[in-house]
Amino acid sequence: MNDLTPNREERTANLKGMGCARKRVEDARFTQGQGNYVDDVKLPGMLHGDFVRSPYAHARVKSINKEAALALPGVVAVLTAEDLAPLNLHWMPTLAGDKQMVLADGKVLFQGQEVAFVVANDRYIAADAVELVEVDYEELPVITDPFEALQSDVVLREDLAGQTEGAHGPRKHHNHIFTWEQGDEAATNQVMDSAEVVAEESMYYHRTHPCPLETCGSVASMDKVNGKLTLWGTFQAPHVVRTVAALLSGIEEHNIRVISPDIGGGFGNKVGVYPGYICSIVASIVTGKPVKWVEDRMENLMSTAFARDYWMKGKISATKEGKITGLHCHVTADHGGFDACADPTKFPAGFMNICTGSYDIPVAYLGVDGVYTNKAPGGVSYRCSFRVTEAVYFIERMIEVLAIELDMDAAELRRINFIKKEQFPYTAALGWEYDSGDYHTAWDKALKTVDYEGLRAEQAERVEAFKRGETRKLMGVGLSFFTEIVGAGPVKNCDILGMGMFDSCEIRIHPTGSAIARLGTISQGQGHATTFAQILASEIGISADSITIEEGDTDTAPYGLGTYGSRSTPVAGAATALAGRKIRAKAQMIAAYLLEVHDDDVEFDVDRFVVKGAPERFSTMKDIAYAAYNQAIPGLEPGLEAVSYYDPPNMTYPFGAYVCVMDIDVDTGVPEIRRFYALDDCGTRINPMIIEGQVHGGLTEALAVALGQEIAYDDLGNVKTGTLMDFFLPTAWEVPNYETDFTVTPSPHHPIGAKGVGESPHVGGVPCFSNAVQDAFRAFGLRHTNMPHDHWRIWQTANKLGLHD
């Protein structure tokens, strides 16, 4: 080698592979307004659809008069359930095994439900025509409370009348959907009965909404000449949409092309299949023209999938010293008018059975009852794996309540109950096998960094000062330690509508040594084009800058189950690494041929293969790529391509330790976040800068949910938070400065040891913010108060505790 040859370190740096804080390649277009979203799709002759929606939460639809609307110049069609019925598309299957009306079939079950679809040659005309459709409703009694629903004689789902068996077993009542039980209830009760200490608490995890900045929408274009349907849409799972569209429409799957272009945030909201998608497809088939449907903000908040709405009742038992002996949890889950939860088929309450958290709890039970109400359908995982936010909030509140019961420090209570490092792989009482973890190290690092003991001392002083009348501000120290469960599959456990939850990557190396890789996932802001190229760069020795990542077009990308539940890195990331290794295996043979040695005599070295023991004899990946296409190599096919479909052997279990320090003005109820420290362990770190960005975003959505974001209904079923005036989206004004930190405990079963991180900060953040608020009042006797902790509710808490007297 001469002096001009870059050394190993330089060559590694040039790759911009794993561990590199590489700038996001997608930002060049996003920051310059050059993104291409669904609403940017404009086709010649394109028509626009808009919905007539129900103003009532529960009503019979007696008649629909389209005449005035059809008479408006520019209106092309007005579709109702009657028009869709001959195609059998007036109802559609939901992801949860239920069915949902595409357009109101005789009655409406929630405010904002789709009643008719107006198609016009202009978006504004469509909106005007919506107001001209006369619908005659007969009001029916409204039920917005799931407990009332289970008592009421009012039958919400008349289409299910007499059906005592649902998609997930027996139905106990005409408004009951399913009961899902996990663990051993008898054994749990036995432990509770003889326990030294039992703490009980009921908590409501309020209904909220992912509220991505880009609302849901689609453009359907049926080409009647070649019989092909092209569907652009805000889909977090484009391949699933194609399969579902094929099954529903009868159009053969090869004639359907689904494209998810740039997506402006999903957070779970864009996993489901919505009536708008179906209506745009039908309208395009009927009119022979492209039809666009894009919902507005109010429609997004009141009709496309909500999150949470879990009434959780918990019981936790322990010894006097604080060793937890059992956990009992019952959930009444409000699913709204249709069960459209987006969970793997066998898990009607998602992975709520991760509710034993990060603790070694010998016995546990979880029961979940799903209930119909007159609220919008949904129940998606808003920036979390399936129902994991609910589970982690539940256990992290139960720990705090137990600490109060035991009169013990909540940090210490956590420490003595953590699953120990040597216990991994650890099988929890509710069945999950945690792959790896080192909770004590993370916890100790977090507490030390924030000077936990100093904070507690300061807090105690503050309480005394408050009592002396020297301050009106209380101090809260919020703690949370979470374990997520992400990366669904495995296929044997996890499917959606029968489609196994694997994922995929296909790589083509070009002759000049650059590459394109296509995946079954779809970025909604996560930066896949940046990070997947980094995985590949490290695996195949081609610079990340020379690798294009493409997703979202079902005609070109390999089949995959999409992006949600932090599954992209654990599943598609693994497929990427394994496809890369197939490339490398063939590259090794080519290198050996070029270097005229045996295959076993060459080894991979960053961006090349070198002859073992003679590093001056090498063949770079560029040389190898060129040879692969242009040199006849005996016994080898030309070309350098690979595809991998990855069915994960297990899920991954990222974890983290968060601390929030908050000062609360008891007279105004305003919380001020003084410090937020987030330690995340997501296993191998692919791009530290992207991780930090994900943590900031997830924490901000956690702040939103904990401190004010909710979908609230009044007794008549009116959505009271249908605009961003009332629905809280934090801005720079409310968001504190976050400190991020990490430990690294790789996943033992993942090809690169990565675990996924996009949702962790939300999962851990919500209980952390909530615990901080509640902790501020612990010295004054508060045990639990429900989120969201907006100023008014915090003020009420202070008031009830007599702090205004």
């Binding site: 007539v52 103003p55 009532y56 405010q111 009044d714 008549l716 009116n718």
Partner: protein, 154 residues
């Protein structure tokens, strides 16, 4: 939503009561009222254009009167539908009391609103309702009191 108020009118009770039952007077007083048809002594039908914040719509509705306590008291219930803008229903109990030749009118009104009106207007609905009520009675007072003044002049 609940609304209560008390106002004093210069006109005597009988006159106020008669005016409250006169569709022509009512149509002049109800803000945005385009049409008021009396089907019977106790049944009315109305078309009203209403604007609450960003929502503006034409409401068509019916009103039923309960005059069993007349002329000192009467109740009304009604409902209106504004199509895509939403809907409302409610009622009011009105009492009239004569004091020194003047009439003291008290009312207690309750209303339930739904649809877009409730979603967008929840912050505005109470203040809008108050504004509409005060507009109504301002105009009403103007009409009945004017009649009184006119008759005094004559």
């Amino acid at each position: 939503m609940e609304l209560t108020d008390e106002i004093t009118l210069k006109a005597p009770l009988a006159k106020v009561y008669a005016a409250l039952n006169d569709p022509e007077v009512l149509q002049q007083c109800i803000p945005g009222c385009e049409e008021l048809i009396q089907h019977s002594a106790t049944d009315l039908e109305a078309k009203v254009v209403l604007k609450v914040g960003p929502v503006k719509a034409r409401f068509s509705g019916t009103v039923q009167l309960d005059v069993s306590g007349a002329p000192e008291a009467f109740s009304l219930t009604g409902q209106g539908n504004g199509g895509a803008a939403g809907h409302a229903k409610g009622g009011a109990h009105v009492t009239l009391q004569e004091r020194d030749g003047k009439t003291v009118l008290r009312y207690e009104a309750k209303a339930e609103i739904g649809g877009k009106l409730a979603q967008l207007g929840s912050r505005l609905i109470q203040s809008t309702a108050k504004k509409l009520a005060s507009k109504f009675f301002l105009k009403f007072a103007e009409i009945v009191d004017q009649d009184v003044s006119a008759s005094l002049d004559a």
